[in-house]
Amino acid sequence: MASDKTQRLAGEYVLGTLDPSERARAERLREIDPDFARSVAEWEWRLAPLSEAVEPVQPDLAVWSRIEAALDAGAAAPQERGSRIVAQLVQLRQHLVAWRLTAFATAAAAVIAGVLWLGGVDSPWVSREAAEQYVAMLADEAGEVGYVVTVEPSARRMMVRDMGVRPPPEKSYEMWIMMPDKQEPLGLVQPEKNTMPLPETIRTAQLDLKTKVIVCLEPEGGRQPGAAMGPVVYSGKLMRQTP
């Protein structure tokens, strides 16, 4: 626990009112003192909600091009990436388990989707021009979430995050999108791949609460042409994200 004096310095640093020499000292402290860094993060978390009241303003399109160019030029070469994924997935999983315990197992998927939905409404990112996005939490019969799928029609792709689940040996998982009037295979779920292209028919279709994303159990390498769809292992409704 940081001392009162340290916490005060952290608070004023985050607020931005320190004079240049104090600010430089705070920057240095933040690098070397984990207690101070934690106090800073706490202050950032406490004060950030004030930014909800700031009107979003669309930046010039050229900004993104400049960012991409800088990345291409290697100006921001990725450092070691990948050390944290396990911890994060475990954490997300814990959240999901906690939510799940609050509801009957069979209703869990709906509850989780509901929490996410409220999360959207409660979101501080008020950005009216944000791209349209949908999300589905795919749960098994027991309500255990196996996949989180984000669909962004304008970007012509979907993101698939697995919660550490894998098909049984010599089996594959295949993902489908199910709409009241049609169903489309989206392809095999690949453990190492987290984006999948979106079929043209889905991009232009009316996605709503009646749309589901499901994962079926198939022979290794996928369903034989003409064969019936395998048993459904995970499924979830697509919810629109309120920007």
Binding site: Q7, G16, D19, W43, S51, P56, Q88, S127, R161, N194
Partner: protein, 182 residues
């Protein structure tokens, strides 16, 4: 966008996923640009800051720790920090325009109390800020939204710098105690 989705995006960015980075940019850039623009009052400078912010997000995504803050608080903090650094550098070469602008902008910025849709986090924060003296609260808000120094705030509220300093210090401590103790 829900924090879970943003967490997943930041996680993908941490693994070098450029498509996720684009989604993150699309979902968050207008808000962060608004934050930077408030402080810098120049589109050009705010766009430079925005570029730095996202390069920093790309670099720092592997270090993002959800237990220490939400994606919103993390990214807003990076933006404000960078914008304030740039603002302070600019102040070193302050022009008459800046002084003129100060006279014409006596307000304390957006009024979060007037915001129709407030998150739960904002409601608790405002609940605590409401307990401060109105003048102290106004100083805190001016500092937060515009990145003003103690001197600049003192000018705007016509009080001695020492008074403003102690208001802000006490205000921060009271807000912290109120939020931490409910």
């Amino acid at each position: 966008m829900a924090d879970q989705t943003l967490n997943a995006l930041i996680d993908a960015v941490a693994h070098g996923d450029r498509t996720a980075f684009r989604s993150l940019y699309n979902a968050t850039s207008a808000k962060l640009f608004g934050v930077a623009l408030r402080i810098l009052k120049s589109r050009e400078m705010a766009e430079d800051v925005l570029q730095d912010v996202y390069l920093k997000v790309w670099d720092a995504a592997p270090d993002y720790r959800p237990e220490l803050g939400t994606p919103f608080s993390w990214m807003v903090a990076i933006t404000r920090n960078r914008a304030i650094d740039v603002l302070r550098k600019r102040r070193e070469v302050a022009t008459d325009d800046d002084a003129h602008e100060a006279e014409n902008n006596p307000d304390s910025g957006p009024d979060p109390f007037e915001l129709a849709a407030q998150s739960r986090a904002l409601k608790s924060l405002l609940g605590c800020m409401e307990r401060l003296e109105p003048e102290h609260r106004r100083c805190l808000l001016m500092a937060y939204y515009y990145g003003y120094t103690h001197e600049e705030i003192a000018d705007r509220v016509s009080k001695p710098v020492g008074t403003v300093k102690s208001w802000i210090r006490r205000g921060l401590i009271r807000v912290r105690d109120c939020l931490d103790n409910g």
